[in-house]
Structure formats: C-alpha cells, structure tokens
C-alpha cells in the first residue's frame, strides 16, 4: 500500500492586494482496490506550508498579479511564485525572483509583430529550449513513444516518475525535470532568426504527433508554432545550461512544476 499526504497554502495577490487565500490538505492510500482519499489534516504539514508561504510573501514583487503556492507533505516542501504581467508570466522561487522579474520586465518591451509561425529558424534564449524539449521529447516519453534521433552534441535528461497534483488525483507517469546540455555545437545565427524569450504554454498530441508552442515574447512578438514533431531540427547550441523560469505542466487537469534548463539553442523547421 502506498500513501501520499500533503497540505497546500495558496494566495493570489493583485498589485499588493490579497484577493484569494486557500488552504487544502488531505491524504490518499492506494492498494489493489484503488485509491481512497480524504481531506485529513496533518498539523505538521500545514505548519510547514504556512512557513513556506510566509517566506514567499516576503519576496513577492509589487505591481504584478502574483500567485504564491506553498506545499508540504510526504514528498517534501516546495514554494512556487507565479508572476504575471498581462500576457507574460514567469514561475520562480525566492532564490531567483529578482533576476526572473527583471527578465519579465524586459520581455514586456519586446516588439509586437506579425505572427511568425512560418519562419523556420528559432533562437531559444534564457533556457526556453527546455520547453521545446519538454513537448518534443518529454511528453512522448510519458506516452511510451520513441524519441527522434538527437545530435551527438546534445544531451537531454528527462527522468519520469509517478506524480500527482493533489490527494484527489490519480498518479500519472510525469516528467520530474528537463535538463539539457551541449558540447561542441557552435553556430552563427542567421540574421532573420526569431529570438524566443518566454513561452505561455505548449502541448503535444500523441495521436497526431503534433507539437504546439505558444510563444509569449520574442523578437517577432507573440505567435504560435504548431508543427509535426519530425519537422524540428537542432542546428546548434552554445554556453552553459540556463534555468528557464516557468514550466507548470498540465496533463489530465493536474498541474505540476517541472524544473527546466537548457543552453541557448538554434533550431530549424525542415
């Protein structure tokens, strides 16, 4: 028999004003007959989640819509800060909030342009290539689908584990993180490459093998890439892996944070 238990504290703030406050707690026991779940309270988990929420509140930036989520339970204690500015958002932690909010502010000044879905060359900045790899490799892995061949210079680590968002959910095989690194893949980006800064989401459909990526900020403004998986070609990469601020992955209605890092990468559509 396996057991999962947690407590979650969540707050929604808008420009310094508290709009929503939530407490959730419960536990789930799983055996051969299925899962039995109740909203049982564990005072230690609730106290730890409250403590983590207070830590998140201390670093919360002003002038944005901010969601704070503090969770403590059988799988440890985590804190997540989602900062939204209009159509742009980041997902961060107290350790990285200053640099990530600076990125959010700078991304807000990107030009608005004609959607560039037909442009074939993309330069993935700020670790955003990890989102591409999340959809291109990670979700197919979850569905047991063989990955396309990767260039020898690209190493991608995507471990899977049974995860669930809440005690009410059925655990699913999900990504734990996406970590990509490169060795010896220099490139000269073409002048017309679209530089991607932030994404607003993505999807992979195992039935059609189509990847969708909603670009929120780029040198061409906001646009959507919707292409078959085999059209993406990795052309080059440079530098150390960069932490991308913001992957909350939703599958079957369960939202989970997936840590994501990747070097600056260049891709083409064949």
């Amino acid at each position: 028999m396996s057991r999962f238990a947690h407590a979650v504290r969540e707050e929604l703030w808008s420009r310094g004003r508290l709009l929503e406050s939530r407490l959730s707690h419960g536990e789930a026991h799983e055996d051969d007959d299925g899962i039995v779940a109740t909203d049982a309270r564990n005072d230690d988990y609730v106290a730890a989640a409250e403590l983590e929420l207070a830590r998140l509140r201390e670093v919360m930036p002003d002038g944005f819509t901010v969601r704070l989520v503090a969770e403590s339970g059988t799988e440890g204690t985590t804190g997540t800060i989602t900062v939204r500015d209009g159509a742009l958002s980041i997902v961060t932690s107290p350790a990285h909030i200053e640099e990530d909010v600076a990125l959010l502010r700078s991304a807000g000044f990107q030009p608005a342009a004609t959607p560039a879905s037909s442009r074939p060359v993309f330069l993935w900045q700020n670790g955003s290539a990890s989102v591409l790899l999340h959809e291109l490799l990670g979700h197919p892995f979850e569905h047991g689908i063989t990955p396309p061949p990767l260039p020898a210079w690209l190493h991608v680590d995507i471990p899977l584990a049974m995860r669930r968002a809440t005690f009410r959910d059925v655990p699913l095989l999900r990504m734990q993180h996406v970590r990509a690194s490169q060795a010896g893949a220099p490139f000269d980006p073409p002048g017309d490459a679209v530089e991607i800064t932030l994404l607003d989401g993505g999807a992979y459909d195992p039935l059609t093998d189509i990847v969708t990526l909603r670009i929120a900020a780029s040198s061409a403004g906001a646009f959507t890439i919707r292409e078959p998986r085999d059209r993406f070609v990795f052309t080059g990469a440079r530098g150390e892996p960069l932490r991308y601020p913001g992957v909350i992955c939703s599958r079957e209605g369960q939202e989970l944070v997936v840590g994501s890092i990747a070097p600056v990468m260049l891709t083409e559509l064949r």
């Binding site: 709009l19 299925g34 909203d39 309270r41 009410r168």
Partner: protein
Amino acid sequence: MIVYRKHGSVARWENGTLIRVTESGTAIEDGDYFECRPESSSPRAVESSRVLEIVRALRDLQFERLIITHGIAEHECDGRAWTEETERIHISLTQGRLRVLVDSTTRRLDDLFTIAHALQRAEPAERAIDRVRLEPNVTAALLPHLAGRAPSGVRLLQTAGGIDGYGDPILEAEGDWPNFYRPSYRLRPVRMPLNLRLECADTHVDEDLPRAVALLGPVAGLTIRVLVVDGEAVYPATVTVASIRAVAADRIWYPYNGGSFGAAMML
C-alpha cells in the same frame, strides 16, 4: 459576507484506476476577497457500485481516455441547504488520426456505442458538406459558445429548474444571466448561463441529412470539426454554424459548462 459549505463524496474511474474521495470545506466571500479551507470531514464509505457497473457496461469499447464519476454533495449557503447527485462520463475514442470526444451522462451509454461503431468505419479524408444535421451531444457542446453570438432566428435560453452555486433557484433567462456556477468550494462562483437550450420556430429537422454524430475536437468559436455519418459513408468534416434552420423540440441534458440541453439541429 457569504459563507458556503459543502460535504461531498465521489467515486471516480479514471483510465483503469478507481478513486474514492470524501471531503468537505468552507468558502467565504467578503467583497472581492475569497477564502476557502477544508473542514474536518468524518470519513465515510463511498459507494462505487454505480461507477463499476458503468465500467462493466463499457468494457468492450477501446478508449483512449475514460473517466466516470458518481458523486453526492450536500451544500449549504446563507441558511439554504440542498443535495445534489451527479453522474458523468468523459470518453475519448480514437481511430487512426481521428479522436472523438464525448461528455455525457450515464443515461446515454447507447450513444457511445453508436459513435464508436461509426468511428471504426470512418475514412480519414475530410469532406465538404453543405447541409448537416447535428446530433444532440454535438449541439449541447456548441450551445455555451453561442452565448452573445447566436445566429438570427434562434433564441438561446437558460432553462428554469434546479439550484445555483449560491442556493438560488435557477430562473428562466435570456441574455442577462442571473445565476452562478460553483463547481467546487475551492473556486469562486462564476456568473454564467446554466442549463442552456436553443429554440427555433422551425422544429422539423430532416431525418435524411448527413448526421454529425460526435465532436472530433473541443469546440472553439462557431466552427466545429465533427464525425459525419452519411448513408454508408463516415468521414470528418468542418462545419461553421453561420445559420440555423431548425432545432428539434426533444432535448437531452449534457454536462457541458453549466449544463446544456442538446437537441437535433439542422444547419
């Protein structure tokens, strides 16, 4: 200040796993501030026989996704108390690169077999069609998207009956929606139309038209991709709901958004 309480239990079959959940909670609204928290719920047995009965009835279907729920909830808001029992099915069926999506109730199991049989016979190539009859499960999914943009010649109405998220009676209404939807104590109630229906002066729907029997993707706007049964042929087609020529008077309730009564519709 508005205080809402809910005690509930649900049995859910999710792609092969049975999960039984009991929980209770309180939601407080004070102006534009919203707060919710669990209450100490006493564990209770969750009846799962109904869900398992449906699983057995559908065992011959090859599904991509199958979620069956049976829940009982006791609600209390501002001194009013009411009880609600719900049964829902969400299923996706696939054949080649076609995926059918259906949200329904456990009273419409026969429809699922009809749709599954049609899907197995479907050819992959999309065809263009001029006139089509949408079946009730398709129109039910479409109705919430007609709010504020229903074509001329039809009326989109909220149907009186039942209780809304604040414990108020659901009223007959058109356009200015007076009621609120509260799917969980953890969410703020949302003002929206409940139990929609569509009325048209012409209720005669031609039985011989090609029939759109199921959705092939989520509804987005007024253009839908559907699975069409046209005599012996079955194929995908894309249909834009620009004008509606007739809507049948017989209606069936489906769990789309805040509830929707589907009826055969002729475009």
